[in-house]
């Protein structure tokens, strides 16, 4: 076992996710067996959580956004045409909207084919999602791509899936996107987006389907929420309580 001295110096890097797996295991082993160091760990962990309260983060006023944009346009010598440029930021490329429409059509056909097998599939999917969530918490399986920025995660899925999941970050609302991975649910590859709320992990599975996924409110001690939007099925699972998971789902559905 490592000494208290080195354990104490590694507590903050541990909380900051800066340790490799072996180091992490060393510190965690020490903390399990050393109450004194554990007290320090708990204190810092609580401070970390408090510092991440959404109430502490300042949001830029909407006015500042337009001021910055018009300042930039002036600097670039582009005529001030706020409306089109602002729209194009929300939709980074027109092809995106076209792809979404194509997807909608594609998934409608896909679902006609699958309709018969879908009826009994609800329970199956739930079980697979629970299994995947549990598996994701073990070892290094949680993230294939690590990021706090949806602009890294989204392109990463290109070529790994035959559809483009809607990747969004809700860091400002206390649900930062921490990364993504590809998982296998219901006989197909699906996007898994991983979010964190305080110390809790949320796995959000996204795949093309306009058939409503019926899920229980909880399974194996995990809260579940599923919904459909724009031809996609969304399935969120977490050890958060259901009210908080619903809050997350509301952000996404908005």
């Amino acid at each position: 076992m490592i000494s208290c001295r080195s354990a104490l110096s590694l507590i903050e890097p541990l909380l900051d996710s800066e340790l490799d797996a072996a180091r992490k295991a060393d510190v965690e082993e020490h903390l399990r067996e050393c109450p004194n160091c554990y007290v320090v760990f708990e204190r810092l962990k609580r401070l970390n959580e408090d510092l991440r309260s959404p109430g502490l983060r300042y949001e830029a006023p909407e006015r500042l956004r337009s001021e910055v944009m018009s300042g930039l346009r002036q600097a670039a010598g582009v005529a001030a045409t706020p409306a089109p440029i602002r729209v194009s930021r929300r939709w980074p490329a027109n092809s995106w909207a076209i792809a979404a429409t194509a997807l909608l059509a594609f998934s409608a056909c896909w679902n006609l084919v699958l309709l018969r097998s879908q009826k009994s599939a609800g329970n199956d999917v739930t079980q697979q999602v629970v299994a995947s969530h549990v598996r994701s918490m073990i070892g290094d399986h949680l993230l294939d791509i690590k990021s706090t920025d949806q602009h890294n995660v989204k392109p990463w899925f290109d070529g790994k899936l035959d559809y483009a999941p809607d990747v969004r970050d809700f860091a400002a609302d206390g649900f930062p996107l921490i990364g993504g991975r590809v998982d296998y649910i219901d006989r197909r590859s699906v996007a898994a987006l991983i979010y964190r709320h305080r110390q809790h992990v949320i796995n959000l599975f996204v795949w093309p389907s306009s058939t409503a996924v019926r899920v229980p409110e909880a399974a194996s001690g995990f809260s579940l929420v599923a919904w459909n939007k724009a031809g996609m099925a969304y399935f969120a699972i977490s050890d958060l309580n259901r009210t908080e998971l619903l809050r997350f789902a509301d952000l996404y559905r908005r």
Binding site: E12, P13, D16, S17, E18, R43, L44, R46, L47, N48, D50, L51, R52, S53, G55, L56, R57, Y58, E59, A60, P61, L64, R65, E67, V68, M69, G71, L72, R73, A75, A76, G77, V78, I85, S88, R89, P92, T148, D149, H151, N152, A171, A172, P176
Partner: protein
């Protein structure tokens, strides 16, 4: 690259981080008007030096510019002997507490924590904000603040110790 093309790329990679930029500026300047001015100037500066952006995480790159802009302003302000003393009255809670008792306690705690962060020396405050609120890894904080990683770690540790002390946690 022509200017409109440059603006488009800048809009895709740098402008989306406006909230992160404002949050850092707001904590460094400790005043919303100053923070807005600093962000505005930082964005214009960032655009001017955008050719130096080598891709990668635009947020860390932008935060470096924001940080430098803010520190320059703060330095100018103290050089002009304008008081940068922390003004408690001005920084009292900015949001009205909600009704329930639980919410009141949570709000009081947040207010206390906000005051403690604002009372930190700026060199601790900047690394705490970048790490805890923007969740930048050590390496990116080091780049944004032009510091060695070891210094980032020791400043974080000292900043956190001060915050715990300020919050009365023993």
């Amino acid at each position: 690259m022509n200017e409109p093309g440059k603006l488009e790329l800048f809009e895709q990679t740098i402008v989306p981080h406006l909230n992160a930029a404002y949050n850092l500026a707001r904590w460094l300047m400790r005043d919303s008007g100053d923070a807005e001015d600093a962000v505005h100037e930082a964005y214009l500066r960032a655009f001017r030096f955008f050719d130096g952006f080598k891709g990668g995480d635009g947020r860390a790159w932008l935060l470096a510019v924001v940080r430098n802009t803010c520190l320059t302003w703060l330095g100018r302000r103290s050089a002009a002997a304008v008081s940068v003393e922390f003004d408690e009255r001005k920084h009292r809670g900015e949001r009205e507490p909600e009704g329930t008792e639980e919410a009141l306690i949570r709000d009081a705690k947040l207010r206390a924590l906000r005051n403690c962060i604002e009372a930190l020396p700026v060199e601790y405050r900047e690394v705490i904000v970048m790490r805890e609120m923007e969740e930048l890894p050590y390496r990116e904080i080091a780049e944004a603040a032009s510091l060695p990683v070891g210094t980032v770690m020791s400043r974080l540790a000292r900043g956190r110790a001060r915050l715990l002390e300020c919050m009365g946690v023993r």
